[in-house]
């Protein structure tokens, strides 16, 4: 995992984040999103035809980018163990199948996932399957800051490599940007471990509740200025979840942020991405909008559960030349 430092960026935006008024002036000064244009561009990029060897590459890359997720009230340690095993060996019948990037669970199940994933280093790349935990009163984010921070520290202490936090949409929508900013900064500090290293922070906007693309752009900048390592579309609990145009707006934001500060921030669409076709559309968009630097599990992730099975089925189809069926993969 690439460690990034955010000191430079926070210095650069010190004026902007000095007060609620300056922050509002900055965020509202961002150019508006052309809704029709963004939707047309996303739809246009979705029509690219990706076949044969390019498709093989895309499928393997997409598998490596999956944050295999289970966020149900009915999750059990057994289910999390099964999911973690699947993340390590998505296709038990094929040792060449890459690992997923991470498993994403509730904080109380981090230790369970960690137990299974402890020795998951990939034999060829040495990459490890990370454990991501949703924290800060996921999915609504309706709790006091103290509770959110305790939730985060708890997950980090249990061994989480990545923390998926939700922003306070109520505060954001009522224009209390500084509160949201300070909350992200506080959670990022709570991600630090005693040894000085830090869990990666993904900031969830829940774009389905932000109403407009302008708000998505503002939230993206807000989270990036606050030092989030990833910006993530949704919790998966609200419809609509990740859509192509929303992800497009976020990819533009990380591209512009790198142009302004030199720092890269990752993007994670989550929820509603179920098919290989969808995943490939996202990858095309990442390449065209943000650039090929983002075509890496360190900088782009899919928050998904059913997507993995479809990727595996397509992968099997490409290798064997015949259509596969859900009977041959685990249900989750």
């Amino acid at each position: 995992m690439t460690q990034t430092t955010t000191t430079a960026a926070s210095d650069q935006f010190a004026d902007v984040t000095a007060s609620d008024a300056t922050l509002r002036r900055f965020l509202h000064g961002l150019p508006g999103v052309d809704q029709v244009g963004a939707e047309a561009r996303a739809a246009g990029l979705g029509t690219r035809s990706i076949k044969t060897s390019a498709k093989e590459f895309a499928i393997d890359l997409a598998i490596r980018m999956v944050d295999l997720t289970t966020l149900e009230g009915q999750d059990t340690p057994g289910k999390v163990r099964a999911l973690a095993s699947k993340a390590m060996r998505p296709d038990p019948a094929d040792p060449t199948c890459p690992q997923t990037a991470a498993v994403c669970v509730y904080p109380d199940l981090v230790a369970t996932a960690k137990e299974v994933l402890g020795a998951s280093a990939d034999s060829t790349t040495g990459a490890q399957v990370n454990v991501a935990a949703v924290a800060t009163a996921f999915p609504s984010g309706r709790a006091s800051l103290a509770i959110k921070l305790a939730d985060t520290r708890d997950a980090v202490a249990a061994g989480a490599d990545e923390i998926d936090m939700v922003i306070d949409r109520g505060a954001f929508l009522s224009g209390r940007y500084l509160q949201v900013f300070e909350e992200i900064v506080a959670v990022r500090e709570a991600c630090e471990r005693p040894d000085g290293s830090s869990a990666h922070l993904k900031v969830i906007f829940e774009t389905g509740e932000l109403q407009t693309y302008d708000n998505v752009r503002r939230a993206s900048w807000l989270a990036m200025m606050a030092g989030g390592h990833f910006i993530k579309t949704s919790t998966g609990k609200v419809q609509p979840a990740a859509t192509l145009p929303v992800t497009l707006v976020m990819l533009e934001a990380v591209r512009d942020f790198r142009a302004a500060t030199g720092q890269m921030v990752g993007v994670k669409p989550a929820g509603g991405i179920r098919t290989t076709k969808d995943a490939i559309k996202y990858l095309v968009m990442v390449n065209e909008v943000a650039g090929p630097d983002w075509l890496d599990p360190d900088w782009f992730r899919f928050g998904a559960s059913t997507l993995l099975n479809d990727l595996l089925m397509q992968r099997t189809k490409m290798l064997t030349g015949r259509y596969s069926g859900p009977d041959y993969f685990t249900l989750d």
Binding site: R322, Y323, G325
Partner: protein, 289 residues
Amino acid sequence: MARVDVRKTYKLYIGGAFPRSESGHSYEVTDSKGAFMANAALASRKDARDAVVAARKAFGGWAARTAYNRAQILYRIAEVMEDRRPQFVDAVYRCEGGSTARANKVVDEAIDRLVWYAGWADKIGQVTGSANPVAGPFFNLSTPEPTGVVAVLAPQASSLLGLVSVIAPAITTGNVVVVVSSHQRPLPAVTFAEVLATSDVPGGVVNVLTGDAATVGPWLAAHMDVNAIDLTGVAGDAELARNLEIAAADNLKRVRRAPAAETDWSTEPGLEPMTWLLETKTVWHPIGI
């Protein structure tokens, strides 16, 4: 001024909708005398793939319906066919040739066959199931269950009666079907699909692909999510039938072998067309308590 012709687009039937072929291809259909009749959609492997997905989605619900309800729906198909009888007579007459009297007789037989199968829906379980005697205080009951998604290569010559005779037994027993119609005579199959769409058959239970069994068949035979394949439509083509059987062996599909020549569909079919698509489940239950 002469009225402009309103020509019909003959499309596929997948998951309860009528899409064009994913490939965008179509082919010319001629009548029995070789004159142009229509352009039918030419199903591709991706249409077959979509049809299997639609069928798999429909399977749980269809298999879970009561046999009584399936009987009602099969009878309903017969009712709606009867209602559109002139259209079927015309299609059969033009596709298969012969006389209108013959076409009328074929349509009669097709409708009667559906009624015959409708009657069997809630009786087949009693005929093929059993209460087995065992050496212990148990009920031991064998009941038939549907096999799953069935790919059917429909007869080439008998475009309506043959088609009904291979679809009806599969859905009567709770299976779902992806059927490749007669290649040269697909129009009765398209009309039949329109009947299915309006007779309470849930979308995806029957999916009709018009096209060539030789191109679509291998994909269906090799498909890992298809549980059985009926090779009736490749009767007489031993080489193709053999290759399809080999492809079907990969996931141990049930295979109904291709006959040497096309069957005479006017005779009563017997139970075999239904029983080959049934899996037997046996349960033990303690007596008493």
